[in-house]
Structures are given as structure tokens and as C-alpha cells.
Amino acid sequence: MSLIQRQGAPSETARAVSGGASALPQPSSNGSSGQGPADGQQAAVTLTEVSKVYGRGPAALLAVDRLSLTVSPGEFVCLIGASGCGKSTLLSMVAGLDTPTSGTVEVAGHRVSMMFQEPALFPWLTARKNIELAMRARGVPAADRRRLAGELLQTVHLSGFADKRPHELSGGMRQRVALARALAQDADLLLMDEPFGALDAMTRDLLHDELDRICADRSLTILFVTHNVREAVRLGDRVVLLSSRPGTVIEEYPVPRSGPRRIDSVQVAELASQITDRLREEMSRHGG
């Protein structure tokens, strides 16, 4: 398994770490570290004292403050927090689309894929071609692309819609195509940035079941960002609560896995209300 290490830009590692740290406003609190993987097992994602500052001088905004988090391979971790907790920034840094101002982001494995709140499908391509393009980008031969795309469409129950363009599909169907496209990237790590946030509750519930099923069939590590506490508890093995402005870990909640869960089950509701209370406490800190 290869190890991708991100410290600022890959080519200018040292400068990004030391130069950035001095520009930081004084951090308020230290982020708690993650639960950590089991002994002898390499973590899928390791964030160590990661900070991100936007802008310079007095206008600089500390978006993420010395955040540390470890995600084990195959783990489903939900990040939750109010607006401005730097969740999306965090995902961008793990995806390699953005670099930390200081600290390190280590991603084990060879590939990271990402899903957004919008399906972000290419509107001129059919569902099948959208999925095939993701495989073309990583060099899968043409003959295999078609077959694999067919299998993935089957996985998301869209075999009958392979030749439809995104605008001919409903919101939920588009998001399933986007999921199939993310899976087509054959990633070990799937980053999901509020992927079901724009869907109605009924569609969302069905997609939760779908995601459960798909995860069970694959060895996927998932980092899932959401605003919805119940969704986080419904899906995650662990829910990580982030503070707002700057974002850092305030609390982690392991979710006991005991058979299939439903978003309306008592266990989900109990843990969700506990997390919601803690989240409100955190939000009221910003009110005064």
C-alpha cells in the first residue's frame, strides 16, 4: 500500500509547514486526536495538527485549527458541525484539491474519489458515459469500461437508464449516477460532501440503505460530511463533532453497530439527540 503525504504542496513541503505556522493567529484550543486504528494496522487517513488559513495579515481567516483525526481502513466516519467548521475545506485537503497551511495529511492507498452535494455529472454525457469517463481518466481499456459501467449501473439500480442524460433523470437518480461514477474511480477512500443534502427525505432514506449495501460489498473507507445529525448516526461507525470557526474536533461518538439501522430507530434517535445537544452548546458559544 502506498502512502500519499500532503504537507502543503508536495513539491514545497518544508516551506509550507514552517512558513505557514508563523502566520497563524493564536489557536484557541487543541484538537483531540482520533481513536486511532487497531494495533499494527495502517490508518487510511491520518490528519496531524492540520491548520488551514485563508488570506493574509489581519484579514486572515483560520478555517481549520490544528485538527487531528485518524480514520481506519474500512471505517465509515461522519463529520458533523455547524456552518463554518471547515468540513468542506477538510475534505478538499484530503482529496488533494487543497493544501494545509501547516500540519500533515496522510492518505494511505492509491486513489481518492469524491462526491458533492450536487451530482456534478457532465451534462453532455449519458449516465453510462459519465461513469466510463471516470474509468478512462484512470486508463481502463475501452472494452472493460463498458462492462464495468454496466455493472455499476446495476449496483445503483439504474440499468434501464444507462443512455439517459443527467437532465432526463430525477435528483435522486442523478446522485446515484454520481455514486456509481465515484465507485468507478476504484478508490479506497470515498469522500462525500453532503451528498444527500439536496434530496427529499424519502429518497434520502432509500439512498442510505443503498450506501449501506454498497459499503458492505466493498472495502471502502468513507469520510462523510453532513449537517444532518440523524443521517450521521444512521450511517457512520463513528461520528466526529467539529467546532465552528476555527474547525477542530470537539467530540467523537462511536456508533455501536448492531444489525441494520433505520433513521427512525430508537438507538439512532437517542444518540442523535445527545449529539444535537452538544452541537447546540457549541453553536451558542458563538451567539454571545
Binding site: 456534478a120 457532465f122 451534462p123 453532455w124 437532465h167 432526463e168 435522486g172 424519502m202 432509500l206 440503505d209
Partner: protein, 297 residues
């Protein structure tokens, strides 16, 4: 948990069909017929109105022009057009003009596309060239002809030069706009997929800019066609029989019905090419779902 239950599967497909249900209205052939009629009747009515106005003008004998045999009836003029179409000369002129139009437009397309592609890649150039392009677009193309004739003489090159100046900026502008408005979210998605460099261009940025590019090409054609007509009237090339020359000849002979016949030919060519561009434009946008469903049905 690993296996989806039959209830789950049917719930998903049920929800899918419920969400898509309202989109199909009427049979396919009925929709096509309705669409064709909706497209045709305004044009038919327009022709009827024009012919009626013309006939009225003719019948009114305004200034005594009809009595002087200056103004001819629509019937006579259309007969005249028929006669001309039966002879080789008009067809020869059409061929010359259309050929010039194609050469000029293809040149403009090449030059405009190259400029657009280069400028959209280099941000500092982007601002400067953007101003040059809008400047060129405000300049009426006919004002370039003295310049072109001094530079190239009374040759086809002078006409092509002005056509390119008229059309290339629109085409370049279309491409630049398209590249500029490639949705940032799609760029993010493309980059996480691993699209980089040329592949990012080939599979994302170029297809994403196609609607604006086609719109630019359509506008470019309109400019090129107008420049060509002005050019053929102003730049008299010896032994070069074009529609513009025929129009000039009709003017010299005080031949109103002859002039109108040529004008009808020019109008028809313009309309036909415009329709082709509109079709392409519509097809590109429909593919992407950029038309609202009311306009698309």
C-alpha cells in the same frame, strides 16, 4: 444488511418511475406534427403579409411608379426570378458568392478559434484581447472597406479580410466565454477523477464550452454574411460575377424587379444558413437539458 431486499429494490424503482412519470405527454408522431406546424405557420403568415403589402403598394400606383413601369407586381417579379433561375448566370453568381462565403467563414472560424483558445489559457492576454474584441465588434464592417481596398486592391482578398474581421471576434468571444463559464464544480469533479492537462480540455472544458462556442459561430456567420454582401457591392472585381455584381447591374439598369429577385435569393441563402446554425445550437442545448421542458416539447 449486505443484500438489498426486494422491497428496497422495488421501492427505488417505484420512486424513479413516479419522479419521471409526468415527463411524457402525447404520442411521438403527434408531438412531431404539432412541433412542425408550430414552426411553419408563422413563416407562412409572414410571406402572405409581405406579398399582400407589396400587391397593395403596386395597386395604389404610388407616385405613378406603377404606370411608369418602375414598380412591378409580386407576380411579375416572381416570374422574373423564375426566368433568371432558368438561366445559368444567376446560378453562377450564387456559386461564386457562396464559395466566397464558405472560404471567408472557414478562415474566420480557424482564426477566431485559435485566438479564443490561446487567449482563454493566458489570463493577462484575456483582459487586453477582450477589449480589442469588443472594440472590433462595435466597428461597422463596411467602414473597413476603404482600408481593405487600399491594402489589398479590388480583390477577393479585400472582401475576405473584412469578413474575417467581422466574424472572427464573435467566434473567439464565444469560445472564451464558454471556457470562462465552465462550472467550477465540474472542474473539481474532473480533477478528483484524475483529468489533467490535455485530457481535462478534451473531455471537460471543450465540451462544456460548446453551447457558447456554437452561439459565437452563429453570430460570426451573421457578421460574415453582412460583410460579404457589403463587399460584393463595394469591391468591383473584373470578371467576377457574384450576387453583388448582379445587384449592381440591376441598379444601373433601373431594373427594380431584377434587384428584388436577387434580394430574394440573398435572403433565402441567409435564412437557410441561419436555420442550420439555429438547429445546431438547439441540438447542443437540448442534449444538455439547457432548454426548459416547455420549449423542448
Amino acid at each position: 444488511m449486505a443484500v438489498s431486499t426486494p422491497t428496497q429494490n422495488s421501492a427505488i424503482s417505484g420512486l424513479d418511475s413516479l419522479e419521471l412519470a409526468q415527463r411524457q405527454v402525447g404520442s411521438r408522431s403527434a408531438r412531431i406534427a404539432r412541433k412542425a406546424w408550430a414552426a411553419i405557420w408563422p413563416k407562412l403568415l409572414a410571406i402572405v403579409i409581405v406579398l399582400a403589402a407589396w400587391q397593395l403598394f403596386y395597386a395604389s400606383n404610388f407616385r405613378g411608379d406603377t404606370a411608369d413601369h418602375l414598380v412591378k407586381s409580386p407576380g411579375y417579379t416572381l416570374g422574373d426570378l423564375g426566368d433568371q433561375l432558368a438561366h445559368g448566370q444567376l446560378w453562377q453568381a450564387i456559386e461564386v458568392t457562396v464559395q466566397t462565403a464558405v472560404i471567408g467563414y472557414v478562415l474566420a472560424l480557424l482564426i477566431g478559434s485559435v485566438i479564443g483558445a490561446v487567449v482563454s489559457r493566458i489570463p493577462p492576454l484575456r483582459a487586453a484581447v477582450g477589449s480589442i474584441i469588443s472594440g472590433l465588434q462595435t466597428m461597422p464592417s463596411i467602414a473597413w472597406f476603404p482600408f481593405a481596398i487600399i491594402l489589398f486592391g479590388s480583390t477577393e482578398s479585400a472582401i475576405l479580410f473584412v469578413m474575417v474581421l467581422g466574424a472572427a471576434p464573435s467566434i473567439a468571444n464565444g469560445l472564451i466565454t464558454g471556457v470562462d463559464y465552465t462550472p467550477p464544480l465540474l472542474l473539481r469533479a474532473g480533477k478528483t477523477m484524475g483529468l489533467r492537462g490535455f485530457a481535462l480540455y478534451r473531455y471537460l472544458i471543450l465540451p462544456a464550452s460548446l453551447p457558447a462556442y456554437v452561439a459565437g459561430m452563429k453570430q460570426g456567420w451573421a457578421f460574415a454574411w453582412r460583410s460579404l454582401m457589403a463587399g460584393e457591392l463595394l469591391v468591383i472585381i473584373i470578371g467576377h460575377l457574384s450576387l453583388g455584381i448582379l445587384l449592381n447591374t440591376a441598379q444601373d439598369n433601373q431594373d427594380l424587379s431584377g434587384a428584388i429577385s436577387i434580394m430574394i435569393v440573398i435572403l433565402v441563402i441567409g435564412i437557410v444558413v441561419d436555420m442550420i446554425f439555429s438547429k445546431a445550437d438547439l441540438a447542443v442545448r437540448r442534449r444538455r437539458g439547457l432548454l426548459d421542458s416547455a420549449a423542448a416539447s
